[in-house]
Amino acid sequence: MEQLFIIFFSVVVINNFILAKFLGLCPFFGVSRELKSATSMGLAVIFVMTIASIVTWFINRYVLIAYQVEFLQTIVFILVIAALVQLVELFIAKTSPMLQRVLGIYLPLITTNCAVLGVCLLNIKDDYNLIETIIHGLGAGLGFTLAICIMAGIRERLSVCRVPPSMQGFPLSFVIGCLMALSFFGFQGFFTH
């Protein structure tokens, strides 16, 4: 139980995917102009990350390792994630128009989100069991959502500020990212063995 809590807390704030591991930066800068779209993106990522973690865990264990073709890991995982995203999209479109409106356009973007492939690869690299994998996937998604929502909140406020023309847009966002990473750095050393 303690181990699970450490994995969860660590991946949400200490080793936050965006601010400490640099995974999923494209949507972090691309879809953080408004809080509303950032939240939708975050929800979509939590959803896909958790499912992708579970599915790739089973595939790794019962296909790749069982048939000793671990070198196909990258190619299989990315195809599985792409197919999974498509399936989720179809499923949502059929079952929940409300969810479709919220997540709709963000789902396809997730296929090329390195955070999703990253979380699957890290689950395997750190040798997590199924429950740890689920907690890790869920936590990574939550951490992503936390960071992207804070970012969007700050950028909404900044839209009414005067910014030097050369620093507008991406450059300023990166500097905000720096300050956020710095403040999240304060969580370092939260756990001692």
Partner: protein
């Protein structure tokens, strides 16, 4: 329908091509990758016995030691430095979880169960902070430490180990892993030494 078949066939051809070429490259690189991993271990063993480097007649042998008595059958790889039939030193690997992931450490022990050196083989600690465990001023201090005379705690907790500044967790992780390895070695020293005398086949390097 014909269109659908065409799509399926094209995609299948591409996937087969990819799988075949990957299988080919995998077979080509399998040997070199295994060799590199072994070389890394051997280099680490050499690094923890600086005093024996290049000495005539010294050879390295390795063997698995399995702790069958406890019933769990946990096996560990041991590397021995031998001259003629005499065992000069024993090296073994310990692993622990540090701040960013697993840390793997090679520990060398020579006579009187004192450490002759340690070497960090793998780690994924934060660059600039925890990664400083690979700096000489940190790992050098473990040389000549042993179980009886050393207090295995950080200096600030009244022990004998200096930590890397700004990286308490990484320092403690290394310290505890080395200590745990040393305890295992001294608990099973007789069995391990018995193995050491028996193995003859030198490690290729």
């Amino acid at each position: 329908m014909r269109e659908l078949c065409r799509l399926a066939i094209v995609l299948t051809i591409i996937c087969c091509g990819a799988a075949l070429s990957l299988a080919y490259v995998y077979n080509l690189t399998k040997g070199p990758i295994a060799y590199q991993q072994r070389l890394k271990k051997i280099r680490a063993v050499n690094a923890v016995f600086p005093q024996h480097e290049g000495t005539q007649g010294v050879q390295m042998v390795d063997s698995l030691y399995c702790d069958d008595e406890s019933g769990t059958a946990s096996c560990r790889q041991f590397y021995f430095i031998k001259q003629d039939r005499e065992v000069l030193g024993t090296a073994f690997e310990v692993a622990t979880s540090g701040y960013g992931g697993t840390i793997e450490i090679m520990v060398g022990v020579s006579g009187e169960a004192a450490i002759s050196g340690i070497k960090i083989i793998n780690h994924s600690e934060t660059p600039g902070l925890g990664a400083n465990i690979t700096k000489e001023q940190f790992y050098q201090q473990f040389t000549v430490k042993n179980l009886t005379d050393t207090k295995w705690d950080l200096r600030k907790d009244g022990g004998d180990i200096d930590q890397v500044s700004g990286a308490t967790i990484s320092s403690i992780a290394v310290m505890q892993a080395v200590h745990e390895g040393l305890v295992f070695f001294s608990d099973h020293e007789d069995g391990i030494m018995e193995k050491a005398v028996r193995v003859e086949q030198p490690v290729e390097s």
